[in-house]
Symmetry: C2
Subunit: 336 residues, 2 copies
DNA sequence: CTGAAAGCGCTTACAG
DNA sequence: CTGAAAGCGCTTACAG
């Protein structure tokens, strides 16, 4: 079933059929429109989008790009929720979705030319790789959580600074005076460095001293936490009553470690996470954390991209999703 | 940059360029091959796959189909891990990946015709909808976790029966005599009904009586668990020492519920899950469970699909991933 | 071994 | 309002 078949069945030319399919109604009489639509419906005609894309140099495909990692990117619940949000909007707006993990930013360009992809959502780009995207400049794209001074694209981030400020501030208000921040490797600038800034400013806003070597522990390597790393954490925690941890997943790992060493949480030490992932309310004690609506983030990314594509919108705003404190059971009040 | 441009640059026709791109080397002289490849490399030529798909009626696109749910499908860590496995193989084999959530199985057919999609991986199809796929019969497709008598497609499942048998058997060997099985809604046949059979047979293999109304609790609705549901669970658990739960996520929810009612795990009641999701080792106590390699499942699905496509393989095997017991801390030994 | 030509299914100026 | 025709970038019999 092709446009030509429809045209023959109705007794009209492919031009006319194409016009009704594409809603160019002002070019066709109502009588013809009706006849064509009837035959299309009855025949179960499905357009060949490859042909359409070839003729239009535009596919209504959106590409989601993420880094090729050994563990597998979607493993991380954060990313799968982003994808959930993206997929909802993309589907609702009648676009198709391609996903691809890459090693090398040339591959984005290649994918674009392969299929005449209309736009991209790019997850977890490392900032310093941005210059490689020069030739990509005129392609509609939105980034997620990419901080880089010269970013010429829309970025969808979160209020990371404000969120971690709230977290640290809560600890301080609960009477904690010696607090720390633990994170995986900290890139600058990045989501994590923003959070660290919020932490620092919360401390200083109370007139307390902040010192990187005192208040911050950056851990290398990934889960499960290695032996040497364990000792660093135990050492770091010793003289503190409360810890902000840059992500729930890591917070949960660390809670597990501390528990195994005989710490009671929150009696012996208070913990606060970031992200409010699903499992944060299922661990024991339930984790106090900073919430962000990750699915909304994916949706906003897709909505902005589609706006760029359809309205040829040239603005490059830096959008930030709000973050808010979720109080559960992993922080205790200190009275003195 | 098109094939025609390359042809002009080399001084040859598009036919020849196409032949070298497609590896039809026996049709071209070595000298010409070299010249064409050199120009392709230098020019940064990228093929237009829409044109190729249009000419070939085949796209090297693989579609991953999943149901449109309100919560969002990829939320579930199980599904995002499957997707991780699929993406790895699809990328490695130089295919492209489209994903789409659907309400209605007609949409699969539509997607196929839209893009000349070469094959599909279909997740969480409800068995009784299979007959709707009649017209889809000749399209390469593999299903994941779909049990249906008349399945004419490859299905990639797990040893659900054997896994739950091992789980229940472990409880029995640890001295538990009154044990139960808790699950969300049980379809027949399905992953869950297979697990229930394994549970039942383990009990009966010890010469113990099995009675559905005694040993099985099917809960309706989803997380978080509702009030009425809570009471059912508490009631069910009262006269038992060990519980098999059909999925880790549910097990973790239930552990949380029991803890809040004063139960100590495993001292007061033993719990065993299924799936070995990431968080099962992060909860307290660490969850004893049945492991399956979910990423491998995704990989096997993709490998089988691509074999079907490329070798025109007509076999429809029913593949099952092994399951094994992971002993952690949520089951205690009962000595009498 | 190489090329001319038709065809895949659509869109889009252009003419009438 | 309708249609004839060229074009999008590829592939593939077929002829030489």
């Amino acid at each position: 079933m092709t446009i030509k078949d429809i045209a023959n069945a109705v007794g009209v030319t492919p031009t006319t059929v194409s016009n009704v399919i594409n809603g160019n109604y002002h070019k066709v009489s109502q009588k013809t429109i009706d006849k064509v639509q009837k035959v299309i419906k009855e025949s179960g005609y499905v357009p060949n989008k490859n042909a359409r894309a070839l003729a239009n140099n535009s596919s209504k495909i959106i590409g989601v790009i993420f880094p090729k990692t050994t563990e597998g990117f979607m493993q991380d619940p954060f990313h799968s929720q982003i994808l959930t949000g993206i997929e909802k909007i993309v589907g609702a707006k009648k676009y198709d979705l391609m996903i691809k993990s890459i090693d090398n930013y040339e591959e984005i360009y290649e994918l674009m030319r392969n299929w005449s992809v209309d736009g991209f959502i790019i997850l977890s780009l490392i900032g310093y790789q941005l210059p490689q995207l020069e030739k990509f400049k005129n392609v509609p794209a939105v980034f997620i959580d990419t901080y880089y001074e010269e970013l010429k694209y829309i970025n969808i981030g979160s209020e990371d600074y404000q969120g971690e400020f709230k977290a640290a501030n809560y600890l301080l208000e609960m009477g904690h005076e010696s607090i720390g921040f633990i994170s995986y490797h900290i890139d600058y600038p990045s989501v994590i460095s923003m959070r660290l800034n919020g932490f620092k400013d919360a401390i200083e806003s109370k007139g307390l001293p902040f010192d990187c070597s005192e208040n911050v522990l950056e851990i290398v390597g990934f889960d499960p936490i290695g032996k040497d790393c364990e000792n660093k954490i135990l050492d770091f925690v010793k003289d503190k009553t409360g810890i902000c941890i840059s992500a729930d997943i890591l917070a949960i790992e660390i809670m597990e470690l501390l528990r195994s060493k005989g710490y009671r949480i929150p009696e012996d030490i208070s913990i606060i996470g970031f992200d409010n992932v699903y499992l944060s309310r299922l661990v024991n004690p339930k984790l106090t954390t900073i919430n962000q609506d990750i699915i909304a983030k994916g949706k906003i990314a897709a909505e902005n991209l589609i706006n760029m594509i359809e309205k040829n919108n040239k603005e490059k705003p830096n959008i930030k999703i709000p973050t808010n404190l979720i109080i559960r059971d992993s922080v205790k009040k200190i009275n003195d």
